[in-house]
Each structure stands twice: as structure tokens, then as C-alpha cells.
Amino acid sequence: MNVLIRIKRYDPERDAKPYWDEFRVEADPIDRLLDALNTIKWTMDGTLTFRRSCAHGVCGSDAMRINGRNRLACKVLMRDVGNKVTIEPMLGYAVIKDLVVDMDRFFDKYRSIKPFLITYDNEPGTERLQSPAQRERYDEGTKCILCGACTGSCPSIWGNPDWVGPASIVNAHRFIFDSRDQGAAERLQLLSHKDGVWRCRTIFNCADACPRGIPVTDLIEQVKRAVVYGGPEEA
């Protein structure tokens, strides 16, 4: 199939402002959109810039705005985009060049919610025990690949770049609801502040954007309840 690909491009070194560029690419219907981007880069215009690594949706490098929604280019197939596709960098992040956005703030926010197991007990000689049900309790959050698609899709962050954002809350959830963790109180405290969970206005763009199928809003709501009820509720 022959596809027209429109890409919003911007190289601050050369361009005064962003502009639209168009390419025609011959593609197989089950090719990934990432393959088409590579075809452009490798055979038409070497200056086109985007991130990619794993090419199968597990590393989180290539989140971008595809036909208006945040998606991973390596998880979108050509047959799903039709004859014309529009690609833009994600909103809510500063553009470094073309489709590459600055993720440093995103990772800073992730770091801010203490995304690591906090324990005060001594470590046992073998593994800590945890029942399959307790393990299941926080399973969804462990799927996160920190691609940033959710955070970039959230209208709250477009207005307020200081907001901690859905991805960080998902990862806070992963620890708050882990039966082995003892840092729930610290994290809930952090998240009850101004740029914490309350900036989420249940818009659900995040859950729609998440390439890992994480019910992001649901997890955020569980964290909100944990804040108001003073601790995580059981499954």
C-alpha cells in the first residue's frame, strides 16, 4: 500500500518554527509505522529524527502523536492508519528535534515519588513471602515501560507542566499496593500535595494512550482513595 506520511518537523538549529513535511512510502499492511519512518530515514531523508530501540513495544522509546493520539510507532501497523497518517511530537514535553522530545523532566518526576521498595524490616535469608493474590494486587503498574505516552496525553499537564503526571502515579501505585513495601505513607504524603494526585481530573486520555494496556486512571483513583482513606485498600 502507498501511504502519505505527514510529519511535523522542527530543528531549532535550523528552523525558525515547526513545519509540516510530507513523504510517500510504499509499505506492507502489516509493517509497523516505525518501519515506514525508518524507510524515510534510510532512503529519503536522513535528517528525520526520532527515537527507537526495541521495535516491538517493550522499551518505550518511540511514543509520538500519531493521527492525533499518543502511540508507540512500533505498535501501530500500517493497515490501521489508512492511506494517510499524521505524526507529531508528543504534547507536554519540549521538542528537541523533530519527533524527539525532552524526557528529563518526566524522569525527574518519576524519581520524585520514591519508585523503589522501602522496607524497615531485616531481610530474610531467602525471599520475602507474598501470596499470588498479593502479587496480583499491583500487577498492572509493573507493566509500565515509562514511555511517557500517558503523561503527554493529559490535558492537566499541558496546562501545568509541574504536575507529577499519570506515569509517576502508576509507579507509585506499584509500590503502595505491594505487600512487601512499607513506604506507602511517605508516598501518599508526597502525592497529596498540590501537584500530586489531585491534578488528575479523570480525563482518561492516559488510559487510552497507554501502549501496555494499563488502566491508568483506575490506578490513579485507587491512589486517591488511599490518600483520603489513610492507606491502601485491600484488593
Binding site: 520475602r128 501470596s131 505487600s179 512487601r180 497529596s192 500535595h193 492507606g231
Partner: protein, 138 residues
């Protein structure tokens, strides 16, 4: 037997203003649901707006219940709405200076309108008989 970790450390200190604000939206929203619906029914359905004359008000306000009702509507609605305005300002106004100004102005507005409304409600005389028409003449 399962050994699970002994506890979760300290419980979170309840609160923070933002938490309260979130809660307040919901509580006041639930209250408003009742207040606003009753209010709408009375003002727009069982009466036409053109009939909410001075006399009509006087009749209603001879009963303290309606004064309290309206005062609640005023207070809850205003605080709920102004809290909403505050959130919106926080969301969109990034420059700290401008934000401070706008937030201060809305705080002043809140106080002014609350006083104005409350004063109106309190100072309204309890006139026994109706003065003037119950509806605007057609």
C-alpha cells in the same frame, strides 16, 4: 503459614489543603445537587421567573427555613465554584506573579459576594403582607 511484611510504617498524616479541596468538591457537590435542584424547581418550574417579585420573596422569606436554605445555597455554591476557579487558575496561569494576583482577586471576590449575599438575606425585612404584585403584569 504466610509470612508477610510486618506493617506499612507510619500512617499518612491526614489532609493537606488540596486533599480537603478535592473532598470539598464532592461533599459540596452532593449538597448542591439537592439545593440547586429544589431551587430550580421552585424558581423556574413551579413559578415563572417573571413572578419572582419582591412580594414573592417576602412571602418566602417570612419562613426562616427558606432564608437558611438560600444562605446554604449561596455559601456552598460560592465556595464550590470559587474553589473551582482557583483550580482553573492554578492549572493555566503559570507566571507566579500573575497567579498570585488572580488568586488574590478571586479571594476578594469570594468575600465580597459572600458578604453581599449574606447581608441581603439577613437585612431583608420580615414583612407580613405582600407589597406589590406577585407577578409582573402582562
Amino acid at each position: 503459614m504466610l509470612r508477610i511484611s510486618s506493617g506499612r510504617g507510619p500512617r499518612p498524616v491526614a489532609g493537606g489543603f488540596e486533599t480537603f479541596s478535592w473532598y470539598y468538591f464532592r461533599i459540596s457537590g452532593a449538597l448542591l445537587l439537592v439545593l440547586v435542584i429544589v431551587h430550580l424547581l421552585i424558581m423556574h418550574i413551579s413559578n415563572d421567573v417573571s413572578c419572582t417579585t419582591y412580594a414573592f420573596v417576602a412571602m418566602r422569606y417570612s419562613n426562616v427555613f427558606w432564608r437558611v436554605f438560600d444562605w446554604l445555597l449561596l455559601t456552598v455554591g460560592l465556595t464550590h465554584g470559587m474553589n473551582g476557579l482557583r483550580v482553573v487558575i492554578d492549572d493555566y496561569v503559570r507566571a507566579p506573579g500573575a497567579r498570585m494576583w488572580l488568586l488574590s482577586i478571586s479571594a476578594v471576590l469570594l468575600v465580597v459576594f459572600f458578604m453581599l449575599g449574606t447581608l441581603t438575606l439577613i437585612t431583608f425585612p420580615t414583612v407580613p403582607g405582600a407589597t406589590g404584585p406577585l407577578c409582573i403584569p402582562k
